[in-house]
Symmetry: C2
Subunit: 413 residues, 2 copies
């Protein structure tokens, strides 16, 4: 008898009919001879609705109270889903994060799980219950609700799988799995059967939104194999696991696994900063102090003892970055500050590039052939990202997808 | 420095503006030099919305899951209200029922409070916090949420007042206090300055919906003086306290304190039941078994060894009562069963009738003079109720209100 953790996202439980469908799916899995722990997110747009309500009351609410408020969304899901399972004739018990034995540090709205005591879940499973756990939430040492940040239900599912030593961790959403790229942008994008933790992490960090990045880190750390699949389909999705386990299972050896993109990018350039030591440290130290997250950075070679520094950040941080840079430009006697929000980041990800030289060159060549100008480049061991003009983004993604052989083949095995 | 418990009903916190208003009211009370514990209900129609959601999923949901679901309503209120107080510059901390130390028996949806451990509240008050507690909910011995039944937030407020030995328990709603009768029915209904626990209990039990009946019982038991008043007014409301405390405070001695009415009544009559011992026990035993709440009962004197038995119940119980009585009529060889849902109960309540004979006679006379037929009568020490035709109800209430001298006088002191 296997122990399966099944996690359902908010879009899978957004109304009564979907709840009933999910309940049927859980029961079917139990009837296959499994013990079931289900993790659920808040229904549909509930979390956003709660945030909107709090926004009408306070622009800077205490985070402890925010977590008290947000915790209600998952409590609605778990209780309704437990009702739906019971209505179909199986025993189900809902548990809040605290009841499920999930404890966190003292941070609010982005707490880290400290420990999971699976005693209560195990005892309920032993009594033949389907156990339905609220994702996204935990109990801190003060006895308060904490929440784990956006996508935190994925983390709950993975961490519970580790704590329970589950045989399988299935993460259900409204997509079929992990794709080579976004099917809305590239028509012949295809679903991957397998992807390694590291690739998944790079993809999550560069625009793909299938799984929360931290949940993948935890899965890697504890060796939890994740099956990312679609709630409303019986087809296999994508297995996220270690490179070793994937090993020979891959039907074909691909140089890269996916192409990602991110339109939420702004490029800043500070022009003609007099060259002196510690300039970069000063600029980025000041930006860090006001909470600006900087992504890619380029410093041009000094010409006439003057430097240009370019970097990217998100559109959310654009305004405060602009204000700070205008001050800095005066202090540093720089010529000017240019802000460009008409850019996008296009990345290729793949463990194949570790053992294959020339992947970057091929990427640049593919873009060049299509007349796409590369404004910035950054690389990691298994990812290469380029900043391009936003109007070239879709063309770039399609070209890279085709050029690296990711396009759909007839009859995938 | 006084300790004040302030309870706000759902209509007082139904949107962001009202939340802010209530927050201001709480802060003003604190600034008067008081320590404040606030109890809140779920916002507006939240509880009904949650019930509707569950109704779409299951017609017979497990009560444990129902309580998990319903508990979210008050968690939304307390967190948002805490945010509103903080936004206005005062420290506030929200607590769920369980966090506030409120424990209950193992019943769900209508649990009884077993104990309150006020340690956490006291320690938060000592640190100068406004403490905002979720009404209606508690923790049971299994570690689950329980709820206290409709109006349970009143009970939370009264029980907390007792446990904290509060100086004042203010229950805020959208009405100004306890009225001599419903102002929607009688134009010159007037607010009472004082009412005794016993009168309040009889009024709550006979149609008036200002306070939950159980909360009044608990207030009586522990001597908690309640001030029922309006959220959106600074005028004094009604003090609910012991007869002794009211004593000389009353400006005038009234024979009765109020007239109540209840349209949610159905009258059943079983005609010509052969007279034999234990008939009534059999009928009402069977009805109790299927959960029918019977209110007034009349058994006619046996004529020709045959009896008629009439009783009233609520419209919710009408259908199952009808089915059971049809079976019983056959078993008991009764002639027939008549059901009349066009009736209403009109009651007068007052401790004055204890020491004044003839109150009942005066009531019947007032109704008779207006040509109103009395179908059934029941009396308690401080209440007399009559069943009348539903079309006569408003006329009866107005007549009794005027006839017993309750109508508004110019310039109430």
């Amino acid at each position: 008898m296997a122990l399966v953790v099944m996690k359902f996202g908010g879009s899978s439980v957004s109304d009564a009919d979907k709840m009933k469908f999910v309940a049927g799916k859980i029961i079917a899995k139990k009837n296959d001879g499994n013990k079931i722990v289900t993790v659920v997110s808040a229904p549909g747009d509930t979390t956003d609705d709660l945030l909107e309500m709090s926004g009408k009351i306070s622009l800077d609410p205490p985070e402890r109270e925010m977590d008290m408020l947000l915790a209600t969304g998952e409590m609605v899901s778990i209780s309704l889903l437990a009702m739906a399972v019971n209505a179909q004739g199986e025993k189900a018990i809902s548990l809040t994060g605290p009841q499920a034995g999930i404890t966190s540090d003292l941070y609010h709205t982005k707490a880290k799980i400290k420990n999971i005591n699976p005693k209560k879940i195990k005892s309920l499973l032993a009594k033949n219950n389907i156990v339905i756990v609220a994702g996204f939430q935990a109990l801190n040492a003060k006895g308060d609700f904490s929440t784990l940040g956006r996508g935190g239900s994925d983390l709950t599912a993975v961490a519970l799988s580790a704590a329970l030593n589950a045989d399988l961790c299935e993460i259900y959403s409204d997509v079929e799995g992990v794709f080579t790229t976004d099917p809305r942008v590239v028509k012949d994008a295809r679903k991957l059967d397998f992807i390694s933790y590291d690739e998944m992490l790079e993809m999550a960090g560069s625009g793909a939104q299938v799984l929360q990045a931290r949940s993948v880190e935890v899965a890697k750390k504890f060796g939890v194999e994740i099956h990312s699949r679609c709630t409303f389909s019986d087809k296999d999705g994508t297995i996220i696991t270690s490179e070793e386990k994937i090993g020979g299972k891959k039907v074909e050896e691909l140089l890269i696994s996916g192409v990602t993109f991110d339109k939420n990018q702004v490029k800043f350039t500070i022009i003609d900063i007099p060259d002196m030591p510690g300039i970069a440290a000063k600029i980025f130290g000041r930006l860090a102090k006001i909470g600006v997250n900087v992504d890619m950075i380029i410093q041009s070679a000094a010409v006439n003892k003057k430097n240009d520094i370019s970097f990217t950040t998100t559109k959310q941080d654009m305004k405060k970055t602009q204000i700070e840079l205008d001050k800095l430009a005066i202090e540093l006697k720089a010529e000017s500050v240019i802000c460009d929000d008409q850019v996008a980041k296009v990345s290729i990800v793949g463990i194949g590039m570790r053992s294959n030289a020339g992947v970057a060159g091929r990427m640049f060549e593919l873009l060049h052939k299509k007349g796409i100008n590369i404004e910035m480049i950054s690389t990691s061991e298994i990812k290469i990202s380029c900043i391009v003009d936003i109007i070239d983004m879709e063309k770039a993604v399609n070209e890279l997808h085709k050029g690296f052989g990711l396009s759909k083949q007839k009859e995938q095995i």
